[in-house]
């Protein structure tokens, strides 16, 4: 018989889900799109993704060492951030630009605001916007995108994002947009594989489908209302970073509302802003900006959509 017993506060059992497990699930869900992006865009895409992931880990590691904080690399969140950033970059992004992106994501957006759980915008999106503004030529010019290898043999040629090609001769077909036989950022081309990853996350209960569905749905409805053209609607839903953003970035726990109603408001807001930027803005793509703007509103949405506690006396 033991003499001393452990005494702790209830509950004495816990669910098996952990933060690192959730992050690992996100990484698993991104693998198909990542592998596919590397296959179609070749070695330069692989270099960009690897640079982003490795530098994100290194920055997180160094930050904790220098500030004498407990090491947080093990929660895999830096890998998710690096991976998402890499997938959001054009395949020919210079590697030093990719590394600066990781610095902006991990150090500026995430750690300077208090680390995991405290960042007010999604680090990968924050970093992408930093790069868009700081390196417009490397990031958004036609020259930084590539045509997929499978289509044109071994040599890769520069191309524009399909969003700018709609109605032109070079515009890819809906089928090639869905399966990702077109140019674009490394991870955003195949709506099909991103959808697959999204379904995995929903089945694993890592994400709730409300945000992706309302986000993509709003873009679809708005595009249709302004064109009355199913073809055009599908074209704009499938091209650009909409699937990647809606499934993997807008669903980031830290920067999206926690209530289901809040998630709906958030998703619709993202969809509306994306549509407005695409339709009337000067930018080729609005997904990142829409998410970052809604990120900032997330705490307010949360506050306004908080569940009413059970059995409170009526106010008044």
């Amino acid at each position: 018989m033991k003499d001393s017993l452990v005494v702790s506060s209830s509950p004495h059992i816990r669910h098996r889900d952990t933060t690192s497990g959730i992050m690992l699930d996100v990484i698993i869900a991104l693998i198909p799109a990542t592998v596919y992006g590397i296959i179609i865009f070749g070695i330069s895409a692989a270099a960009v993704v690897c640079t982003c992931v490795l530098s994100a880990i290194v920055f997180e590691f160094l930050w904790n060492i220098i500030l004498k904080k407990p090491q947080s690399v093990g929660d895999f969140s830096a890998i998710v951030t690096g991976l998402l950033l890499g997938l959001n970059l054009p395949p020919k992004t210079p590697l030093f630009v990719a590394a600066i992106g990781s610095f902006a994501a991990i150090i500026v957006v995430k750690q300077m605001f208090g680390g995991l759980g405290y960042n007010f915008v999604n680090p990968a999106i924050g970093a992408r916007i930093v790069l868009l503004v700081s390196f417009p030529t490397a990031m958004a010019s036609a020259g930084s995108y590539l045509e997929p290898i499978s289509k044109l043999g071994v040599d890769t040629v520069s191309s524009a994002t399909p969003l700018m090609l709609y109605g032109k001769e070079a515009a890819p077909s809906l089928k090639s947009l869905f399966f990702g036989m077109n140019s674009g950022a490394i991870g955003e081309t195949s709506a099909f594989l991103l959808l697959l990853g999204g379904i995995y996350l929903v089945l694993r209960k890592v994400i709730n489908p409300i945000i992706p569905v309302s986000f993509i749905g709003t873009v679809a409805v708005m595009t249709y209302l302004f064109s009355f053209n199913i073809n055009e609607t599908l074209y704009f839903v499938l091209s650009g970073g909409l699937f990647l953003g809606a499934i993997f970035m807008a669903t980031d726990y830290v920067t999206s509302p926690t209530t289901n109603l809040g998630k709906l408001v958030f998703g619709i807001g993202c969809g509306l802003i994306t549509f407005v930027i695409r339709k009337w803005g000067n930018l080729p793509e609005g997904v990142s900006y829409s998410i970052i703007l809604m990120n900032i509103l997330a705490p307010q949405i949360d506050k306004l959509t908080r569940r009413k506690p059970f059995g409170l006396p009526k106010e008044g």
Partner: protein, 439 residues
Amino acid sequence: MEKERILSPVKKIGTAIKLPHSKTTAETETVRFNPKKVSIPMSMNIGAPCTPCVEVGSKVFVGTKIAFSDAFVSAPIHSSVSGTVTAITSRDITGNKIDYIEIESDMQNEPDPNLKPFEVKTKEDLISAAKECGLVGLGGAGFPTHIKLNPPKETKLDTLVVNAAECEPFLTADYRECMEKYNDVLEGIYLIKDILELEQVVICVESNKPKAIKKLFEMASDKRDKYDKVKLMRLPSSYPQGAEKVLIYSATGRVLPLGKLPGDIGCLVMNVTSIGTLYRFIKSGMPLTHKRVTVDGDAVLTPKNLLIPIGTEISEILDTLEIAETYEKILTGGPMMGTCVVDKSAVVEKRTNGILVLNPQKPITATPCIRCGRCARNCPLGLTPAKVEAANRVGNSDAYAELNVNLCMECGSCSYVCPAKRPLTQIMRVAKAELRRKK
């Protein structure tokens, strides 16, 4: 026929946590446990502690009243063994001094010869029966039953909600009551219904107990129930179905307001074991002296249900069981809401329904909150534990009232689901205590 008569919840709370059931003891017969001595605490429930009415050297029998209090909120205490009072001591285990009457058992388990059936004809009879029985809510809260039966004059009880949900993992004590003491529960339900002239009786049971559902369905279809007032309700097997507020909401659709008792909204909530115990007292005069306790946990190699005299020390129970020597934690109650035993001399009380002996678990390290919102989405009462924790972290205790922490019933759901393993329930407790201090 069956489908019509088994009800589904009138209303559902938005949350449903699936817990591992671990109810390994469900199909084993209850075994009587005979301790050499018992130490009966004078305070086992909400309300005033009792004063001993026996002296050292007094000869007592099973069911002899040994302590009582004149306070309104209190319940008398009876000896759980026959034997001699050897000491009346004062122990200080959790910061409160509590008196204990120690009785050495003569192992004869002789019932008190003065016990006789209690005649119940009116509501007043029923209330005094509950009081004389020493009955308190046996589901875990330990609220004296006679007060539940006697709500303020302006309210009228119209519904009896029978709690057979037993939503805590491991525990099967209530389930065994349904299976073994079917008749006591059945008679108890009809007696209470008739004496209090209730509109309806809703027997609530979780869907993971098909055998109990069958038994209880027989109860609800009893011939006496001409106007079909006794109904069986099948609750989803999710946690915390058996919590009072949740149960009333499921059974009747009524919302129990903050700070009110179920009686204020016409409901009488009673655990199946409480009903069985009350009926046994009325039938035979034998008050609450024993508790059926599920002894289980991953360190117990021979889990079982024991019928244990109140006041039996846990160490004496553990001595008779096969237990892995590696254990490090002993709980009374279930794994979600049970409390740790500080010392093995702790005793079985009236409201004890489980003793769990647990092996060391993987150490839990809290990581930063990732705002996943699971704690809030899974709170049965719609609270936001993560916000309370954030307020606690920065010492902003002014936020507690606005976040309604006083609603929290400490069911443990928030801590259970948290992927960052943050001690949310514990902080809710701290916040509640702090809010109480401020008032």
